[in-house]
Symmetry: C2
Subunit: 413 residues, 2 copies
């Protein structure tokens, strides 16, 4: 697909992508937009100009400060909008081309906001490599993986209020930990702040309480994907997590990328996941290409450093449990889901030492410090480090990417 708009070959926001976000510009109220090349298509203005004529979209949807109302219009509308925009981008002298000065906002000049109002946020734990690595460190080689792990996509509920968008700095949390088992616990700034490389999906279709989403239909309930950094304070987490799971070690902040890449845009990059042995119970059985070949990487940019250092190269396809299985399990008990709910994958670690999705694993619990380009080393995230996550699919000259999720860690306030 060729466009009158110049889009660099290596740009994440190609004509094949068209991801959704919420932006503000020149002091105006945040509103929905779609990223293309170096620009954002202002959907409110585009709608006003008649760009979506014939597609049923109420005016108010593009005036909202979150995408929830737009998502609620359903897949038929989303597909029509996507098709219309691809046509407009390919046709010289289209409405969009003629009004480009008004309808295309330079991304650089816009502020990006949280794209959805998140009702509930669930975090899975679906990487076999990650679960095994963490298990080894805590319980040793022989008991690394819990007996339930290969039977169900283990998950816990996280905090929705503290999810922030890329660009919002976070603070090193205070909290309780017990560095010495022979002494009482202490309270102070966490001594081990970590990132977790994750991908989250956004619920696009709600269910009623008591309703189950069958695994074969589960993808119909997914609007799109985001990069997700599940910030973790390992020392707090270690002391608190038995028996009810992570809490203060996680809920101080999570970060998401600003653009939701739709399942439709990811379609060309479908691939198969790992072989599941033992075979899942019937309610979790899927067939075919249920995941995506989505490259992921994490960099750290220390304060004042000239260059970032890539510390992790992983891939979404490494995950043992796929999204359909996660959602089928989540709703098997009748738990209802709402538009805008986030379901994150859990840390995505791969089979190689450079594909591990957290500092805990990369520096193997502090035993293998990672060299930075500025000559320093890291076993955790330091104050004033910026952690940058990127993700993209690429194949046959087509690129569909997520842009950047970048977060600065500030010291305890």
């Amino acid at each position: 697909m060729q466009s009158w708009l110049e889009i660099r070959q290596d740009c994440d926001f190609s004509i094949h992508n068209l991801p959704y976000g919420i932006f503000s510009y020149r002091g105006k109220k945040p509103r929905p937009g779609i990223a293309i090349g170096e620009f954002i298509i202002d959907l409110k203005q585009a709608h006003k100009k008649g760009l979506f004529e014939g597609i049923k979209i109420p005016d108010k949807v593009f005036k909202k400060t979150s995408l929830n109302s737009y998502i609620a219009l359903g897949q038929k509308v989303h597909r029509a909008v996507r098709q219309r925009l691809q046509e407009q981008l390919q046709t010289d002298n289209s409405l969009l081309a003629r009004h480009r000065d008004k309808l295309l906002i330079p991304i650089e000049e816009a502020t990006l906001h949280l794209p959805v109002q998140i009702g509930d946020y669930t975090d899975f734990y679906s990487s076999l490599e990650h679960a095994t690595n963490v298990g080894k460190m805590i319980r040793g080689q022989d008991n690394a993986l819990m007996p339930n792990w290969k039977y169900l996509p283990v998950a816990y509920h996280g905090r929705a209020s503290s999810i922030v968008v890329s660009g919002v700095p976070i603070r090193r949390p205070m909290g309780q930990s017990r560095p010495n088992d022979q002494e009482p616990p202490i309270f102070g700034p966490s001594r081990f702040v970590d990132f977790e490389l994750e991908v989250a999906f956004v619920i696009g279709r709600p269910t009623q309480l008591g309703e189950q989403v069958p695994v074969t239909k589960a993808e119909e309930y997914i609007f799109g994907l985001l990069l997700f950094n599940d910030w973790s304070a390992r020392d707090l987490q270690k002391w608190e997590y038995v028996p009810l799971g992570p809490f203060a070690g996680k809920n101080f902040a999570s970060s998401v990328s600003p653009w939701i890449v739709t399942l439709e845009a990811l379609e060309p990059f479908r691939t198969v996941g790992p072989i599941q042995d033992p075979p899942p119970l019937p309610y979790l059985q899927t067939q075919g290409k249920r995941t995506f070949d989505l490259h992921l990487e994490v960099s750290i940019l220390p304060k004042g450093a000239a260059e970032e250092t890539v510390v992790c190269r992983s891939n979404f396809k490494y995950l043992y449990w796929n999204m359909a299985q996660q959602l089928a399990h989540h709703t098997a008990n009748g738990c209802n889901i709402r538009i805008g709910d986030l379901m994150a994958s859990g840390t995505i670690s791969g089979p190689t030492p450079d594909s591990l999705g957290s500092m805990l694993e990369l520096a193997w619990n502090g035993t293998k410090p990672l060299p930075m380009s500025d000559g320093t080393t890291r076993i955790a995230v330091n104050d004033y480090d910026t952690v940058i996550m990127r993700g993209y699919c690429q194949k046959d000259g087509i690129r569909v990417g997520f842009g950047e999720l970048e977060t600065l860690l500030l010291p305890t306030g």
Copy 2:
């Protein structure tokens, strides 16, 4: 305080109470109300009639379908409204008295709804007796209590979407469990549905991400309290909960009572909690009467039975960790809170065998079946049982109660 309105001595909704809820009546949109005796004060109509003259309340607040906007007006407004209504209820020929036909809606004829829009729901685990009982069953007498338990108010995040109000029936969940360790897990209806007797507080004042609520100020952030039934599927929970805590065994449903009793109404019933030994770390230290003498009970009404059977009599004051400590711990890491967030206490078990707050404990993991008034016995909640929770404070002729939280358990759908 005497009123022209007849209020029975044993009525939970005395002139000292004035709890807030959301009701609908004759097919109209749900809106805020206050319970008094057998009636609901229609706040929208009362406001229209000038009952709150001189108190700054925007019109729209009483037209909302949740209390969040009203709560956001702040404590000064809430106190003024409370005082005004107490005056109106005590003064013959007051506005309220003259317009009682229009302003007082019979509770019996109204439908009650979820009182707040819940952003995040947190469940604590703050009963020493409950944590010890469950610990004994799982890990034996010697390792009953985890080392962290007496140092921090252990908590996990629950599911907000599946919280329903009293009167809404729920369904026995399907799920994965492993009844036999030598066999693979199975999928089917839970074989052990349980209630958990809890009290939840509603956040009345928000914080920003990164902000800490000091333990000495924490109560200022609490609007009021609700009864909370944290439904649990023990067989699902047992199989899934290591290492990330409860998930599908809990998130199929939780039930709340319809009326929020304010901290102000509970003031006369303040009392001290248990002695905390070891003393908490400084950020968790409180002094004086930080809890309430709030009687709690749970009944089961089997299908077709003539009478309910009271299975539990407990008290809010038994809780080891108080609300101020819970909230200070929750925000110590900078986790932000929002108006309408719910924080539940965890199961409130007392020191005596009849004060245990779950069937798991009452029937001691199935070994002591509980007799019902209809001649049947229970070790768990059966299909078509209705579980009824009640709570009230009473002292010097003053009664402040929560009404009923009643939920019917339906079979798997």
